[in-house]
Symmetry: C2
């Protein structure tokens, strides 16, 4: 069945083209209309150009349109993939403003910025300084509510937990949060030398806070295999790159305390013990100190920027075959492993898929409020989305000591954003273990509000 899919923030070119490749390879979606929307015309042209070329190279059959007008793109959309990150005027990308705010925060002693709290160490998962981005994300949802109220919103931009929850609370949009962090399970299985098809596994939790609650290998307890690996092999573990944290010492430490293995980004979302300094990060995550530090994160942003520049160059040179130029990134046959297109295909063409999505709990995880967005395994087919029974249940320890505190932070972020009460922003820092001087808290926020790109935020939090 041919449908219409809108990409908002299509100018995150690499990711968009990758998903277009998945669409082109999905024969049931033949003839579908892909609509790109971005405020940056240069990037919009680049993504349009590359998406068309990639589709052609792999023999796909899709139609394309592009626009800088959001409402035009949303007209008759069946699915909306939102990867948009707010970008301030004059900035090269959305990260620039966060880097500026991080510098302000570090002046006051907040290593890696004030969003980086316990249970939230992922440095590009902003929750309190991100007013502009929350506002943009909510505005997009409101446009969908108005223009294409039956469309599914595939929320892909972080913070997935906060944004999905916000949209659920304030609109009637059919929003589902997407994250590829669950892919960490494959890395674990690879390291342990286990075959995926012989493994029966489940993860559950909240976004960037998911745990391997079921782990059976050929009907044996997979955790015994893990325990053996820890005993015999974990001392030899070395990270391949800054993102490789799936069985780092910090993760073993979390496993020993919580009783289950944290998966994906959860591995970096642990505690100040592992993160209070670059030295601590190196102790617990190996030689790179993972990705969320002052050495690796700027390097990563620079790489992203270089790739983006290169992509734009390539888009202007029709002589390049992109499946040959970037065979890993844009392969001819293999699907990307991202969940968005299987989700679309399952709902549209009944090609049932097992996905890991962020949806309202509604009893899926026991003793977690029904109206909180959780990340759980879900069967998707043309009749809708059906969370699996979580079995075995998550231990009380993980619910009480990890998920509930994380939910509290989400609630604080949403309440601050919705009410404009700056006391909540200040209370977040009152509770921050890095706070040295409580009198500095209002000053720090004032300095953040006074940044040129935070004018609207300042107005919102006027108290």
């Amino acid at each position: 069945m041919s449908i219409k899919i809108s990409f908002i923030g299509a100018g995150s070119v690499r990711y968009t083209v990758k998903l277009v490749g998945d669409l082109a390879k999905t024969k049931e979606l033949n003839g579908s209309l892909i609509s790109f929307i971005d405020i940056d015309e240069e990037r919009l042209n680049a993504v349009d150009n590359l998406a068309k070329r990639y589709t052609e190279e792999i023999g796909g059959n899709l139609k394309f349109e592009k626009t800088t007008n959001r409402e035009e793109s949303l007209k008759d959309a069946d699915f909306v993939i939102n990867t948009a990150l707010y970008r301030a005027p004059g900035h090269e990308d959305g990260y620039v403003s966060y880097e500026i705010m991080r510098n302000v925060a570090e002046k006051y002693g907040y290593y890696r910025g004030i969003d980086s709290q316990e249970f939230n160490m992922v440095s590009d998962y902003y929750t309190f300084t991100n007013y502009n981005h929350m506002k943009l994300s909510l505005d997009i949802a409101k446009s969908i509510e108005k223009i294409c109220p039956n469309a599914w919103l595939i929320q892909t931009a972080n913070p997935v937990f906060e944004i999905t929850q916000l949209i659920k609370r304030l609109t009637n949009v059919k929003v589902v949060g997407f994250c590829h962090g669950v892919g960490g399970v494959h890395e674990v299985l690879k390291t342990l030398g286990l075959e995926e098809k012989e493994t029966d596994w489940q993860v559950a939790g909240v976004n960037h806070g998911i745990w391997l609650n079921r782990f059976l290998y050929k009907d044996e307890d997979g955790y015994q295999i893990l325990d053996k690996w820890i005993e015999e092999e974990s001392n030899n573990w070395e990270p391949k790159d800054p993102w490789d944290t799936h069985l780092a010492p910090a993760v073993i430490d979390m496993y020993k305390f919580y009783g289950l293995l944290p998966i994906g980004d959860t591995t970096r979302n642990s505690t100040w013990k592992h993160h209070h300094s670059l030295q601590a990060k190196k102790k617990w995550y190996g030689k790179f100190g993972a990705i969320d530090n002052e050495v690796e994160r700027p390097k990563f942003y620079e790489e992203l920027r270089q790739i983006k520049r290169l992509i734009i160059q390539v888009s202007k040179d029709p002589s390049i075959k992109i499946t040959e130029y970037w065979p890993e990134e844009f392969p001819k046959e293999k699907m990307s492993g991202e969940q968005q297109v299987p989700f679309i295909n399952a709902l549209t063409n009944d090609v049932e898929a097992r996905l890991f999505l962020n949806v309202l709990n509604n009893g899926t995880i026991k003793n977690i409020p029904n109206d909180v967005v959780v990340e759980v395994p879900i069967k998707v087919n043309k009749n809708g989305i059906f969370p699996e029974k979580i079995q075995p249940d998550l231990p009380e320890k993980i619910k009480n000591y990890y998920i509930i505190p994380r939910i509290t932070r989400m609630e604080m972020a949403l309440e601050a954003f919705i009410t404009g009460d700056r006391n909540i922003l200040e209370e977040v820092l009152v509770r921050d273990p890095r706070t040295k001087n409580y009198d500095d808290i209002p000053k720090l926020w004032d300095e953040i509000f006074d940044l040129p790109f935070n004018k609207e935020m300042k107005e919102h939090y006027r108290s």
Copy 2:
């Protein structure tokens, strides 16, 4: 109706004699048998002597027995009042061991000790170093379960929240937690110049975390009167003594953030912002810096010890009339204001009372787990105990940002105690904002375990 009431830890003489006075003044309880139990014979004799003399002086009619054998005292008891605080052999009282442990913790940078956490600043409300005391309290409950399973256990010794919850979880005893902190409402009304009988009020929360959710004065909004007082009078506020915190700047600060007034001990149970140093405490609680600091708390303990010694002297001098010697403490006619005896009389003789007790939530406070002990207003009569409808409900802010984190700490304390998992004790400090060096955490606990009075605790937490 005459009944049997056992006092466990009767040797906290002053408190016991005060409650005996209430019993003697309650004519419906004429002829009841009071059974004192304490391991310290000197104190046991003192309380027995003074209780008899006080009863005689006010013309009461009670029978007395005393024993150092717990099970003997519990035989046929209808009510058990437990004020027992664990006391290590050779120590003058139960506080000594906590003072020793506090000194160990301060060496590692934990101002006022490791039990004093956010939302738990009350310095004699120990939750993690108190293995001996939790064990004693549980043992007492188990004796009751065996000897007098139908008796009500009136749990008066702190930590009321943790102990009441522990006994509810691990026994079938009819336990109810008692605290007089709710009396703080009267102080607030007095300061605001309001008459109690014209005021319609409710408080709700958890022990040492209660909030004035209803406040109507002659059908007007009492909070408007408070707001006016804050505007016009709060700058002139001065504490009368270290315990006088009911409208301190910290309390106004809490009220402004949470939207309701904290009551009783809750006023000191706030945040590190108010408590990180003696200087901060003085800024937020006035010239004494409240009671939980290095100056006032030792003074208070010394006063308690002097009074205890004096009481023992007086018990040996039959020429003294105690209602004349201590007319404030042991008045001839006035009831003490403590809730224990009205509770007993309501259940025994149907003299209905409105009390504020710690019982299982079971839906009383919405969106708080049913199986958690909450402190709420309760109608008590011969048919039992009936929580009032909490109206208006507590704000989500108080539930999400204050009560839920406090429940999490209680759960950690109970899990550590029940399982003997020292990782939980360590995690508590990993989450403590005062922790400077994470490697010190196991060392600090080892040093605490190695104290001579913690031998059993060390064995329990052997990992």
